[in-house]
Subunit: 424 residues, 4 copies
């Protein structure tokens, strides 16, 4: 690779600033953690915070510094194996279920690794090889969005890790939501017809949001807000978890195998419920949106209610006319808040909303070339799409076309549910 | 329930004839079996032939005789528990994975059970209570189609059961396919636009094929025939099973966990392959369609080939203009046959064709009321749709709108693949 | 191998008679079975009756006919793989946990196999090659005893297979034990000192009973009879299964994992217990010995009672002065009977008695040469010794030095318990 | 409990000094650890160092301070649940397999817990309630020995935890053993007869070493030293891991399931072996004793060699006449050293020696009363006895009668093997 001295470039500065800001926010999110908290992995699906810190750094090193920064000195040649997540074509990787067993490299080592890569990134961006500028910017944008994704993962993973500890540690105290009531549910109608779905391509998006395509919708309606704890409790009291006819077959097996009787993080004490949060264990606030549901639970609730979940196209069609505002990471609540506004609300932020759409490719889907093609495309089986971001998602990370995806039994992410219905 | 003497009724005779014919065909399919063959269950997913014989009988008893035939005497009150498959709302059921552990009731007992129910059905149909005629016919039609489904299951289950036996027993000798060559693959183009998909409702269909709805298709093309063993072998030789980038993540894990290196029933001997069939072990005929693929393998082959799998809407749109003819159960081959015709062929029969569509509800889906609502609807997660029937499907059972579904890792059914592509 | 015409030989006739008698008894034990019953294997530890019939035949074929009968024609060359149990040095074997999945060879095939081998054995014994006479007789004796062991296994396996069937089939109706009471427990004292243990070598024994060796015993006492259901029920009522301090750690884990609350085959109905037997389900007779206990349960009962289990040396020392009489297979009860006699009783027959001795080699143990060395010796880890035979053991098969062995969690054999104590 | 001012007492000072010394040594052993190293648990069988620090403290708090120190203030009431290991009768305990998932309490918290309990212990010992003096000293002695056991566990657990890290961290650099050769194996003969085995009771021992009892031994011989890596390598080269006839059945299954081809911590590189040690990865020193063997491997080697493992009585009889000297924790090597002396050597220290004796109770065994009766007695199934201590055992902790025990498949402890033989 040919390296040339690049001219000062305002785009560089913008990108450098974005990178530095995001990298700093990741570390700021770790401030409340003890060294011990950085290392644990309570189930295979979650990763230790230390690993998130290292993996996002490895991403920049592997996909930007190694191919584009000729003089770059690898920080530690064993890290490629340790911090590759799942990129089969980028080499081997340490088994996911053992990430919590690596006491070394230490947390201090990982911060040194971050500093090393951050410095190299800034050097590269200051001296941008002109012929690679486009490729570097493209990958850097991905690297930044990737790190923001891991900020959210870090928070939801810490929550799970803490939740299995009988001491119920708090990650950070936040103000308690005192909302005394939530607006009544109303229904917003949308006209069907041929609509366009997917990212229009002028700004950043992931490959799985593309290409924008036309699809045909029937008329439909959406509930004005997320389903609340009070509403979900009515489902529980109506023996929702005991009535097989409300559940998908896989869901019925899941709740019986794991003996689920309520959403994740609910603890029954006598006849009341407590809820584990990032601020520790708290009385369940009935006005808040019900959180940490599996797809199976969201689906069963919808069937019980006589409604259904929206498709992802319906959701996107409705959401694309709304401003991207809501209860995001920036609010600092780290917890979904009770709806307060009338009108269609909570589409963005608070909780990811389960859709009834299986995660699959859009017509004409073209994954990123090479190893980065593994980023999204290879997960297109046995997963369902969720939309809208949550209280641990950064505001500037989300958009109407954004597709998140989890397995139907997952529920450690901030997931919730909004109902949809057909308009006759 | 009020029982009234009914008048002679030509519809009765038609339905009675259909029932008797189908029930007899089930038993005829068991002719090659030894008593011992009726009892085994090599994996949880397959059922012993004895169980199929009993379960289809239980279906008629439970959904027709018990509600509609007032004087009906239950053959054995324990059978409700033993031969209910998965209807949670119809009572308890014996664990699926233990169906092969019940030596009693004996095969002879089950044939007596069948005769008892068959006789009671004929009595009921001769003396049809007028006010229930519609309900009875509706359920009888379902009972007949249900039994035909189990005929296919019985054959594919016997095949699997025999396949793990080192003696490789033959179910029945059939003529060997001597086709010396297969027509070259050509591509048939279809125009997109708004099309109607789903059953139009004038004749029998399952609830999951309804309601007919409009959807928007892009222009697309389909391969003229199923992919052959020769073509699939080229994928294997090109290290298809060793290249992670060709596979969905779940698929890559599946083939590595199970050490799959070829389709189910292929046995490598030196550099050649043998194939286990219902006629025993045979040299692999390269012209025949490749059979017993998982979704993951079909998907990987498609990615390798530069094409893709069709959606179920594309498949149905193309197939609905074709006559429902092909290599079905009635041909007696019990094995997919090499394509011989030019033009678009093999859409029906030979092998079920994997689509890229996850099995889900059509807009406005309305499951059957009550327990029969569990027939199809509750399986709408983690499964993919297959279309077109196979060499073990009865000809009159299939139609363009028919939706079969399996989990992506399943491959003991007669599954194959046809490629699709986009038309620019 | 050199084959010579042998002279008529009375030993031949004796051995031939024994072989024919034992082989016939195996088949007689199968008389109550339906074809379907021959094929099932409800858990890995049990084997289908068909397999027992074949394996005992394979044993004669492999260890006698093949090495010593030059012209012997193998019945089916695939049977070596199918019916070898666990002899690693005799070739491969079909996986134990799949024995119930082989519908072929059929039961009729296996009876033909038996007839073929029986005939060849008789021909060989009539024309005994003189130089091999000793070896053949040695192995034949082992083959006969081996078949008798499998007769017992067949019965205990059938019992288990039937027990998981909701129909609770009866193997054979036997007279119900009407004993109205059982003698009070008394204690028999034995003086310690240096005693000889093990088989003295003049007649047949297994290699694990040899060599006879000297050991030192303290004074000890044995309970006069087996512990009864009534006594065991008192342990259950005293919360025996809920009190951790009564259990070995592995035992506590076992009963909690499997949710054991009573011996195998006990079914609680309200406040009473039923017991599954080879005659079907019956009310629990409180006077009968408690049967189908794991070692953990026997050990916990002993700890609860303030006594202990005997060592195998203590048991043998006490039993060697007693006549080998009791409730054996020949009685036809197929069930342990209530003690009726005063004095030390039930040492032989009724139930195998758990000892506190781990199964290990006697000092100077010398396993049989070659493959037959795998018969007993390789199981000397993680198993405990049981003594005395049971109601499914043939009378002439048992002796004071006979060592049976099972894993501590096993309980599908006819196992029971007798207490021992120290004499101060 | 009545508390009385106690008089100054020289025994107090001795015991206080012993306690303080041992407690300090535990913490000194943690000096090389990073905070992160304190928290991990690579397999269920090992525990995080943090847990060892806390559990040994809980032991003193639970069994001494709570019953005998009336004014004692519990440090944290949740710790009873978190740091109880397996005492069922002392309350609930956190699941063993999740010990590595507790980031809180932090390492600093645990050191504070230790200081709190240490101070309370010293106060109690200074003001010893006279009427409880005997009980307190008895339990304190047990508490001290318990902590020493956990020092050894801590080291062997750290070794395992580090071994699965691709970075192969070193716990502490120690001098490399440069021994160029090891003395030839010779055989030491011992006369049999009635011998006394077990602790004689005048000083501390665990309950499982008591009561001293008489047993009868045949004449036997022992190898002069432990088997070396060179000798074990000959077994490997002779296809020891491929020959079923050398293995116990459970052992054969174990090595094939886990694909074991060498002792734990051996890494093959080309034709040479490296060995992971507490000093990191090192070339295998052929003169050192072979370490980290399972019972199955020790047993297979013995069978291959034509010898056998000693019984625990043989071992103790031979060892009781030898001085308790050897390569213990105090040497600082933390690794077995090559034998250098002629004569019978290495009986103590270097490696725990597998015996062929299953771990069971001695005649007349009387476990400690109450909860402490769970210390040893409840593990008397499915385990084998090892003798003599190892390089991680404190010198004053070991004695001829000391019985260690592990499951036959365990090999993460410092285990080795010495051969025995019969003397004709």
């Amino acid at each position: 690779m040919d390296f040339q001295q690049a001219h000062p470039n305002p785009a560089n500065e913008v990108m450098t600033h974005r990178l530095v800001t995001v990298r700093a926010r990741t570390e700021a999110l770790c401030t409340p953690l003890e060294i011990e908290d950085y290392c644990i992995q309570a189930i295979t699906a979650v990763s230790p915070p230390k690993w998130h810190l290292a993996h996002t750094t490895w991403f920049l090193e592997t996909f930007i510094l190694l191919p584009f920064s000729p003089g770059y000195r690898v920080f530690d040649k064993t890290y490629g194996h340790l911090f590759n997540s799942y990129y089969e074509t980028a080499g081997t990787f340490f088994p996911q279920q053992q990430r919590g067993l690596l006491s070394r490299p230490t947390v201090a080592d990982i911060y040194r690794y971050r500093a090393h890569v951050d410095e190299a990134m800034q050097v590269l961006l200051k001296n941008l090889p002109q012929q690679s500028e486009h490729d570097i910017f493209t990958r850097l944008e991905l690297g930044i969005e990737h790190e923001i994704q891991h900020q959210e993962l870090l928070l939801m993973d810490v929550k799970y890790n803490f939740s299995i500890n009988p001491l119920f540690p708090a990650y950070r105290q936040t103000a308690t939501d005192l909302t005394s009531d939530t607006p009544e549910m109303t229904w917003f109608e949308y006209s069907g017809g041929i609509v366009e779905i997917g990212h229009d391509g002028s700004t950043f998006s992931f490959d799985n949001e593309r290409p924008r395509y036309k699809t045909l919708l029937n008329d439909y309606c959406l509930g004005s807000r997320l389903i609340s704890n009070k509403e979900y409790l009515a489902f529980i009291m109506d023996k929702g978890y005991q009535r097989a006819e409300l559940w998908l077959s896989d869901g019925w097996q899941t709740i019986n195998t794991h003996k689920w009787l309520a959403p994740l993080y609910w603890h029954k004490e006598g006849t009341n419920y407590q809820q584990f949060t990032l601020s520790g264990i708290k009385p369940l606030n009935l006005n808040e949106p019900v959180a940490h549901l599996s797809y199976y639970e969201a689906d069963a609730y919808a069937r019980w209610s006589g409604k259904r979940l929206p498709t992802e196209a319906e959701w996107e069609h409705a959401a694309s006319s709304q401003p991207v505002t809501g209860n995001f990471l920036e609010s600092g609540t780290l917890h979904p808040q009770a709806a307060v506004k009338h009108g269609i609300t909570q589409l963005y932020g608070d909780l990811w909303e389960w859709t009834q759409s299986a995660y699959s490719s859009y017509p004409g889907f073209d994954p990123l070339p090479g190893t980065l093609g593994e980023y999204n495309g290879k997960f297109m089986s046995n997963q369902m799409v969720l939309r809208g971001g949550c209280c641990a998602t950064a505001n500037d990370h989300i958009r109407a076309s954004y597709r998140n995806f989890f397995r139907p039994a997952d529920r450690w992410m901030f997931s919730g549910l909004r109902l949809a219905g057909d308009t006759k």
